[in-house]
Amino acid sequence: MVEWDLFFFIALSVVEVVASILVIASKKLVHSAFWLAITLITMGAIYILLRSEFIAVVQILVYAGAVPVLFVFGIMLTRRKMMEEPNE
């Protein structure tokens, strides 16, 4: 008998912990935002494991939906090196 719940919980937790470490470890702001989105989506998946679907989808809708805003600010406030160079 496989404990599917446990299996998924462990898998999701590993993904989430790794992603959340990468949020603070990434050098680029945009990468951080990307990992933050992954963290929030996996957190939503863990809510599903806890049989609370509504809060899971709200989690994705609200938090993961808000990440693009963060992303936009990340793009606006940082500069990519390649963009500054003249076009060859």
């Binding site: 793009i75 606006m76 963009m83 003249p86 076009n87």
Partner: protein
């Protein structure tokens, strides 16, 4: 993301030809624009110095691939001025008919490009559909659809077949009947009005100062059309009006062109009715001497051809004034302060043809 330079071209779906428009945008707002030309430079003016006067006509046809007939006609007109010959009356009428057909074809091609510029791809195929019939008429006159090589110094190459008048009238009827469809497609569309009205404003003073001509000038409330301003052929004997719009925005430039198409059908009808019988060509002298210029109203604005002859079989110097070259001067002025998305509508409304710009 503060200011960045964007290269619109030379390979870009927006460019109606091979040129590079460097745009500096701050977010979505255009701060600066800089057209870079020369990708299509063929040295037509130099080539003219090595060719016979008659051999230049097909070369001039290739100046603009959309309205080639107007260019060879402008050259022939200037050469006739240089040689001081008067062409037969019938040839004048035939030229007017051919020119106006070419103008409609050119404007339809412009419309076909302007539609996708503002995101309406349907306009492309609608305009192309009508253009086929117009090109059929040109083919009937000259035997070619694109580079007609029809005008000659001293007249036109050949007379039209006898059934031409009826067929041309039929095409004009058909084309006039499509006017309502176009008005419903464009003028009734709220989004099209949103995209063009009040966009790309060019004031009357700026337009005059920058040397802008043609529909861009007439869209800015200056009623200057070389067909009445400096009449050539038989335009002053036909019944038609110069189209002017007041607002100076993309919509008025669009409107001028659309109205000009319907005005052209009027000219063609009148010319077909008045056309006399007779010869269509006189023999030009071979070695003219002196200098001459003539202005014509090209499909895009004032075309001026200046010829210097030195008593040889080929001219000493030929200079082409391309209307688009001058109109492009206005592009940075109009673009400044507009949004990046409006760039399409603005450049579309100027009607860029790089063939004649780069020569």
């Amino acid at each position: 993301m503060t200011d960045i330079w964007i290269n619109m071209g030379p390979q870009h779906p927006m460019t109606h030809g091979l040129f590079n428009l460097r745009v500096r945008v701050d977010g979505e707002i255009i701060v600066d624009a800089n057209p870079l030309l020369g990708y299509l430079h063929r040295g037509v003016e130099k080539l003219c110095e090595r060719r016979d006067y008659t051999q230049i006509i097909p070369l001039m046809d290739r100046l603009c691939y959309v309205s080639s007939l107007t260019w060879s006609h402008a050259y022939c007109l200037a050469a006739e001025e240089l040689m001081e010959i008067e062409i037969p009356e019938r040839a004048k009428y035939l030229r007017v008919i051919a020119l106006e057909l070419q103008r409609i074809a050119s404007h339809l091609m412009w419309l076909a490009a302007f539609g996708p510029d503002v995101g309406m791809f349907t306009a492309f195929l609608y305009a192309m559909r009508e253009r086929e019939y117009i090109l059929d008429m040109l083919q009937m006159m000259s035997g070619a659809r694109m580079n007609q090589n029809y005008p000659r110094i001293g007249g036109v190459r050949n007379d039209v077949p006898p059934e031409f008048t009826d067929k041309c009238l039929k095409v004009m009827d058909y084309f006039d009947g499509k006017r309502k469809q176009y008005e419903r497609l464009f003028d009734d569309s709220a989004i099209f009005l949103m995209r063009t009205q009040g966009v790309g404003y060019l004031s009357k003073e700026d337009a005059m100062d920058l040397g802008v001509t043609g529909q861009t000038l007439r869209g800015s409330n200056v009623p200057i059309d070389m067909r009445t301003h400096d009449p050539y052929e038989v335009y002053d004997q036909l019944d038609w009006e110069v189209q002017v719009e007041k607002d100076g925005d993309c919509y008025s430039r669009y409107k001028v062109r659309m109205n000009e198409m319907w005005e052209s059908t009027k000219i063609i009808r009148g010319a077909l009715k008045k056309m006399p019988k007779g010869p269509v060509r006189v023999k030009p002298p071979k070695r003219p001497k002196g200098e001459a210029f003539r202005r014509t109203e090209d499909a895009r604005g004032e075309a001026l051809i200046y010829i210097v002859g030195q008593g040889e079989t080929s001219p000493y110097r030929v200079k082409v004034r391309s209307p688009v070259f001058a109109n492009l001067r206005a592009a940075p002025v109009i673009l400044k302060g507009n949004t990046y998305a409006d760039l399409l509508a603005i450049m579309g409304s100027i009607d860029v043809c790089i063939g004649e710009t780069d020569k």
